[in-house]
Amino acid sequence: MVESTVEPILEVSGLVKHYPLTQGILFKKQVGAVKAVDGVDFTLNRGETLGIVGESGCGKSTVAKMLVNLERPTEGSIKFKGEDISKMSGRALKAARRNIQMVFQDPYTSLNPRMTVGDIIGEPYEIHPEVAPKGDRRKRVQDLLDVVGLNPEYINRYPHQFSGGQRQRIGIARGLALRPEVIVADEPVSALDVSVQAQVINLLDRLQDEFDLSYVFIAHDLSIVRHISDRVGVMYLGRIVEIGKDAEIYDHPTHPYTQALLSAVPVPDPDAREHRERIILSGDVPSPTDIPSGCRFRTRCWKAQERCALEVPLLAVPAEFRLVTGPAAHDSACHFAEEKTVVPQEETPEATPDDLADGTE
């Protein structure tokens, strides 16, 4: 083992989740499997934010569910501070779950409409009474409401009395209740309006410093992921195809899928319209029941050659970048990895929010 200064809080290796497809009623036999997650490795360091991006069906939410033990992996391990939580059961599992909490995507369906906000945020204490003794709970819940920027007097209100952004704050408060060390946020802002998204992102940022949290932040909005993440992993059909520091992925992507994904994101600048190179992928993502041989991206890749159908590319620093030090030298699962900048470099903005607050020059 190499000694490193930053200690990983979460180590995921060889994570696999297959959902069996069966046929027959009396004698069920397995006829195939939905390979939702098919070999995912990553580490999360303390205090770090790891962003995971990918399109629908790439398995990013299944990874999230396995991290918080809502799903059991078919294979592989999830180590929290060196201990494999995916094989735990009983009391040990219950204790481990305390430390990894989740914030869900849809604040409209993830809060029970018949429970008051106080009950929703306080419910984790019912399951883990050792965290907060009974008499202390109401106070704790009010503190949590205050922390996420809601009025503590709202404790007896119901979810429908809140807006989408406020509900997501309630979801975050519930995630914080047990003082976890890791928070897994699965698309926490995609159901919110643009003007409210920024508020919630800022809140998550502030809470990370305040409570020394590590985040796994899953989203499909690439610009938001970049803003909040220290490192970013790109998933395609159940695997991470490229992973690295945010600047390495966004400014120096070497995997063709990452390049296509980045180039497809509309840029809020009409002047970039003409001189922006766009890679339009043909076709759809293949079905996870029938994953292509070799490289799973080859069916949509413009660089695909014979080798791609035969050999599975490993997630490692590609050979051509191995000897150089630089932003292109990061893990990328492609036989023909090549550096390519697809996102136009931004100029410095003319106005900052501070100018705005003053109203005039």
């Binding site: 643009v194 003007s195 809020p268």
Partner: protein
């Protein structure tokens, strides 16, 4: 002018009171032009479109004022029968969620063909041939085989293509696309937007694109109307608005997009929440959230001031906003 909406007002009468969804909207689109209507949920952007299409739910909805001029004729004065002839043949709509907009128990071929049977009086056989032709036009692979398939057998991107095919069937002069790519992944979104833009050029249609995505707008629009609380707060050609917004709401939206040089810093966030449409604040509806608000904003509703020949801003302090 192909379509002109003048001072449109729409209300919804509910048990809890009257929600003023649209409060005096003006916009226009010409042939071959793309107007992007930008706004958050509840801003009235979809309700305006529904009123134009004549598919507003009445009741609880009610158009309480204004005109919708299509080629100079006020659609609101049309009888429902005449309106039906316009809808589909002259103007068509593409909805956000293709799966719930398509009929799950009819094959896509039947749904596409229905347009030709109803509007053009074609035979079943000819309509089927037309359906295949349309599916080829929106580049659905193996159209001749897939014409018998049902909506659930298509992927999200393919379903949205079928929606586009359906809207294009009778070659309308105006297409209204309500968040056409919001439910799609980015790589598929790029495919669908490309297709839509290409067909629009080819057929020289007017396009109203309703969206909340500032990126999509920058890619395709000629001009933009920004809506807030049922009103247009800023309207401008696309290049101007991104360079120098003339309304603090537009500026706030643009500033809340994460940018490279702000990494690690707090994002700019518009404070507060969009207003409740039953209790729109007096004066400028944006004033409780506006960093520039003065006393006058709480009392006087700003008109759409003329910034220049092509631009308007409903802000008392548009000059200050324009200068940053």
């Amino acid at each position: 002018m192909l379509l002109e909406v003048r001072d449109l007002h729409v209300e919804f009468r509910t048990r809890d009171g009257v929600a003023k969804a649209v409060n005096g909207v003006n916009y226009s689109v010409d042939e071959g032009e793309t107007l992007a209507v930008l706004g958050e949920s509840g801003s009235g952007k979809s309700v305006t479109a529904q009123a134009v299409m004549g598919i507003l739910d009445v009741p609880p909805g009610k158009i309480t004022g204004g005109e919708i001029l299509f080629r100079g004729k006020d659609l609101l004065k049309f009888k429902e029968e005449e309106r039906r002839k316009v809808r589909g043949a002259e103007m068509a709509m593409i909805f956000q969620d293709a799966l719930s907009s398509l009929n799950p128990v009819l094959s896509v071929g039947d749904q596409l063909g229905e347009m030709f049977i109803v509007h053009r009086g074609m035979s079943r056989k000819d309509a089927r041939a037309k359906a295949i032709e349309l599916m080829e036009r929106v580049r659905i692979p193996g159209a001749a085989q897939r014409v018998r398939d049902y909506p659930h057998q298509f992927s999200g991107g393919m379903r949205q293509r079928i929606m586009i095919a359906m809207a294009l069937a009778l070659e309308p002069a105006l297409i209204i696309a309500d968040e056409p790519t919001t439910a799609l992944d980015v790589t598929v979104q790029a495919q669908v937007m490309d297709l839509l833009a290409e067909l629009q050029r080819e057929l020289h249609m007017g396009l109203i694109l309703i969206t909340h995505d500032l990126g999509v707008v920058a890619d395709v629009a000629d001009k933009i109307a920004v809506m807030y609380a049922g009103r247009i707060v800023e309207s401008a050609p696309v290049h101007d608005i991104y360079k120098s917004p003339a309304h603090p709401y537009t500026r706030g939206l643009l500033d809340s997009i994460p940018r490279l040089d702000q990494k690690g810093q707090e994002l700019y966030a518009i404070k507060g929440l969009p207003p409740n449409l039953m209790h729109i604040p007096p004066g400028c509806a944006f004033n409780p959230r506006c960093p520039m608000a003065q006393d006058v904003c709480r009392t006087d509703e700003p008109e759409l001031y003329e910034v220049d020949q092509h631009r308007g801003s409903a802000c008392h302090f548009w000059r200050e906003c324009l200068n940053g």
